[in-house]
Symmetry: C2
Subunit: 165 residues, 2 copies
DNA sequence: AAAGATTGAACTGTCAATCTTG
DNA sequence: CAAGATTGACAGTTCAATCTTT
């Protein structure tokens, strides 16, 4: 195992890691400043909207986002105190909980969506050529495939069908 | 600004974000499990070693890692209680603090280094072709350049000179 | 007053323990 | 006991306030 990375490889890895952190931070601060919500808030609200009924059980929400169940619970509880979502008990299975977007949550999502898309476009897509995009897509697919190895169903296939040619 | 991303673009961005999170999580859990330290711990210890004298002032450490000063202070304090680093006052400028690696910190770094490199090789480089590497490097450079716009001196040039052809 | 650093409060995410229902 | 979810304790991070030295 003592095969260390070359200088070139270390430089590439550091650049990749820094790019990732930078992009995440830019998105976070812009969403927070201009829409008053965090990226995790946004992801929850988006997942709720992507559900036809607008009602999702906490566990399923966790599966959609690949979050731990306790993270879902804590985060949804915090969002409820801020009036962004509501929680109600299931009738048919009293262990479960329905999570729904509150009016304020829907408004926040509407405000946040164009900002989110704009920031991704500016900081991620704008500097990339079409060739860069294609290459990034294939790289992401391979790395995710390798890390999957049997878990995390379907999140990768989604990209496979939608890749830029 | 209401120019939303296409489905393809959203899929690419999601894949990229998931890849980043997955890689960071894999590295974190492996380092924690097999070497008993976190990635931030590792970064601090690495930065201390990369300094010839083994002595760095807290502020400079923050500059090396692009961390906030309070983050450095909190993290180094925690590492000190675990016996990984030591802090001493500067003689010439009593406002400053020297940070040095303690013996346990140097041992942890030695243990962690091959694990860190191995994990980066396995989860990041192994799935990539040479073409993927080159493309990722150019993409990272462009995105970092765009986000820099005057700040963060020299972290990008480092890659420019060391890119895989 | 400015620079270097520490501190405390607030928030996020993780792990293990717990509670309730099936 | 297993499944669905909540809770509490803890580490990491940020922000603003503070303290000391220049």
């Amino acid at each position: 195992m003592p095969e260390l990375l070359t200088e070139q490889e270390q430089a590439l890895w550091r650049a990749f890691a820094m790019m990732s952190r930078r992009l995440a931070a830019a998105l976070e601060s812009r969403l927070q400043r201009e829409a008053g919500i965090s990226v995790p808030d946004f992801e929850i609200l988006q997942a709720l909207r992507n559900t036809g009924s607008g009602q999702v059980r906490a566990g399923e929400l966790g599966a959609m986002l690949s979050w731990e169940k306790s993270r879902i619970s804590h985060h949804v509880a915090r969002m409820e105190t801020r009036g962004l979502v509501e929680r109600t008990s299931c009738e048919d299975d009293l262990r479960g909980r329905w999570v729904t977007a509150a009016p304020a949550g829907r408004e926040a999502l509407e405000r946040a969506t164009p900002i989110y898309h704009d920031e991704v476009r500016r900081s991620f897509f704008a500097p990339l050529s079409r060739a860069d995009e294609t290459a990034l897509g294939s790289a992401a697919m391979r790395i995710l495939d390798a890390s999957d190895a049997g878990e995390c169903q379907g999140q990768v296939e989604q990209l496979g069908g939608a890749m830029p040619a």
